[in-house]
């Protein structure tokens, strides 16, 4: 009698392909505001989420600081909002410094547009302001 024992080594869980986030362009420039425009609207940002199959995901954005000028003036993050589309996946929101805000949630690969808007106020000092946002895509 020949006893054959096959060495069935436990197979490691298959490495699932990850999710990928593509944000273009990497910079948003609010136009110089003319006349009595109450808001400045930037050109849209394209957000592409690459997720295999129907893998669920969630996209958040965090303002890493206020809009800051070289002279030390600041514009609070809450002055910047966005409109996201297509609806049902991408949502509208307002930036918050240090507090991640939901941008989109869905399953599988999606492409959307974010259009950022800045409230225009006389109280802003002139200057060259800059702010960094961090988009984080996660798939639980």
């Amino acid at each position: 009698m020949l006893l054959v024992v096959m060495g069935l080594a436990p197979r490691a869980a298959a490495q699932l392909p990850g999710v990928q986030l593509i944000v273009t362009p990497p910079t948003v420039n609010f136009p110089r505001i003319t006349g009595n425009m109450p808001v400045a609207v930037a050109a849209p940002v394209t957000v592409q989420v690459v997720a295999p199959g129907q893998r669920p995901w969630r996209l958040m954005v965090t303002a890493l600081g206020p809009l800051q000028s070289g002279e030390g003036a600041q514009i609070p993050s809450q002055q910047v909002s966005w409109q996201g589309g297509p609806s049902g996946v991408f949502v509208n929101g307002v930036l918050s410094m240090g507090q991640p805000q939901l941008v989109a949630r869905g399953q599988g690969s999606k492409v959307g547009l974010l259009r950022f808007t800045l409230k225009n106020r006389w109280e802003f000092a002139e200057g060259n302001y800059s702010q960094r946002l961090l988009f984080t895509l996660s798939s639980p």
Binding site: L8, I22, V23, P26, V28, W122, L133, S139
Partner: protein
């Protein structure tokens, strides 16, 4: 024996930075609530001065945080009616609103009507007073005052 890999929890993340830029330039906008005022005719004995207004004023300025925007006024000349004149120095004004100041009209040197520090939109009002006198000839007197708001 189970060959299922228990606890095969997985997670995947990706992140990207986006930079936002905004470059507001200096600008100024002055709004007066009236384009003209009319002093009432009155007996100089009972009304040694006559008043007009108030005229609301809003000075909106975007400038540097430590800059000093200013509002000045100068007239193009005296009050004139045909060949008669009333010295423009007989017209003065009082002001309400933070940063606004009263003064006396001048046809050669711009007079300060307000100043502030930094950007903002400030509202106030001006009330004008004319010294009344029996010496004035009858007529319809006119003068033009030019207000200039400057965002340095």
């Amino acid at each position: 024996m189970s060959l299922l890999a228990a606890g095969a929890a997985w997670a995947a993340t990706d992140s990207k930075n986006l930079t936002i830029n905004f470059n507001p330039a200096a600008r100024a906008k002055l709004t007066l609530g009236a384009a003209s005022i009319l002093f009432p005719d009155s007996d100089p004995d009972t009304s040694p001065t006559v008043s007009a207004g108030p005229v609301t004023v809003t000075s909106s300025v975007r400038t540097g945080g430590a800059s000093t925007p200013t509002l000045t006024v100068v007239t193009g000349g005296d009050l004139v009616s045909g060949g008669s004149t009333i010295p423009i120095g007989n017209v003065s004004w009082t002001a309400t609103g933070a940063g606004y100041v009263g003064g006396t009209m001048n046809k050669t040197t711009a007079q300060s009507a307000g100043s502030w520090t930094g950007s903002g939109s400030r509202s106030g009002s001006f009330t004008y007073t004319l010294v009344n006198s029996w010496d004035y000839a009858i007529g319809n007197y006119t003068a033009t005052a030019t207000y200039t708001l400057t965002a340095p």
